[in-house]
Symmetry: C2
Subunit: 246 residues, 2 copies
């Protein structure tokens, strides 16, 4: 059996060529629905299919590659404007032989949480990207449906123990807006009163601005207080999803 020490002797170039790409599961909330950024492929394989935005890694870190791909597809510039508020984290790598019929491709998937971004089509650039409600994503090219499913589960889980829900809303927000994020991502409504008290009771989750929303809700109600994201990186105690089957 070949030991690792000997294995390292091999010239890497002697191995079959491998390509490394990044694919991004970019999530946002539009009109109360959780949406993912997709592109329509114009080239084989999977011509005409929808796919996650992504591309080959260049002379850059993997994180930078993901941010670059996201910027290209949204038409925004990395590090500018709304994109500075995007949260990016690595989701996992997908490298089954045959997942790309052209050659061996290992894809490093990223998960992005974004506040409501402008429609990519509006940018004037002929980008083929668009936001689609996650439950209408349908079949995707390559193994992207599995990557999307993993990203959704990660997002749902992260809302439980991190304050990342604040990445989906404007810099100043009401508790109700925050609750709408949880409802959209988890796919179920939460009790308004208990949610309110819970959010305020977790240290560092939100901090008051002292201000009040300009007007009440669409269909009535008092004007809500405004909050900013706090400085906590973890929610303690966590905000667990309502009972799932165990």
């Amino acid at each position: 059996m070949l030991s690792n020490t000997q294995d390292e002797n091999y010239d890497p170039r002697a191995y079959p060529p491998v390509a490394v790409t990044v694919d991004v599961v970019a999530l946002t909330i539009r009109e109360g629905r959780l949406c993912v950024l997709l592109v329509e492929r114009g080239e084989p394989p999977f011509t005409g299919w929808r796919a996650l935005p992504g591309g080959f890694v260049r002379e850059e870190t993997l994180d930078d590659a993901a941010l670059r791909e996201l910027a290209e597809e949204t038409g925004l510039r990395p590090g500018e404007g709304e994109l500075t508020r995007v949260h990016l984290e690595q989701l996992g790598s997908y490298g089954d032989p045959g997942r790309d019929p052209r050659m061996r491709v290992v894809s490093v998937a990223y998960l992005a949480f974004a506040p409501s971004l402008p429609d990519p089509r509006a940018g004037g650039d002929a980008s083929g990207a668009f936001w689609v409600p996650v439950d209408e994503a349908g079949e995707l090219a390559f193994d992207h449906a599995a990557i999307l499913a993993d990203g959704l589960e990660r997002a749902r889980s992260k809302l439980e123990y991190t304050p990342l829900a604040t990445a989906f809303v404007a810099p100043e927000f009401t508790i109700s807006e925050l609750r709408a994020v949880y409802a959209a991502v988890w796919g179920e409504d939460l009790h308004a009163g208990n949610f309110h008290r819970k959010v305020l009771s977790v240290p560092g989750f939100v901090e008051s601005t002292g201000e009040t929303a300009a007007r009440g809700g669409e269909r009535g109600g008092p004007r809500a207080r405004l909050y900013r994201a706090g400085d906590a990186e973890l929610l303690h105690p966590a905000l667990l999803r309502p009972d799932r089957p165990f």
Copy 2:
């Protein structure tokens, strides 16, 4: 700005060559201490340094590559004997330019939880692998110290909400042995009485064998009951670490 759709037109072979490796953070518990499997490098770069076991990916899935590397270094065969009880999960990918001075290398790191395995040296194979207590790992080649740190944090976190601690002990175990796993991984003792009641109260964490250990503890005490791993995949409620600073 180049859109993704056009980007896909490029011939992948036109990009600078990239190699893909797997590196494994294999953890076990020996004599009450959490240990990691390391190798001593015999080739440049980092000749003589300790490193995580790993190697280039072949015509196989990433998971299979990790299992193969682990089998090679431990001298065991994948899918046989104790290795069948090893839990393997993907940890993340590391691909900063320059992390390997030879060329661009993207490494997919895996985390392995193993019951106490035989010493690799005892296998007769001239493997350079050995178990080292994690707090004595010291400096490692490449960015492996960072990978190890990420693996340790993942392991500590996973003990909270999954029954993976059972992967570190024999198929039949006592509650005290399970508590020793938590103590070794978390680095702090747990209250015996509360831990005992907690483990038994979580549905599906452990199930009784009806048997009793052959003898009591080393320094006295009654003979403990024996348990098997249950069928739960998640612990609910979770077994959280004692208060950390928030």
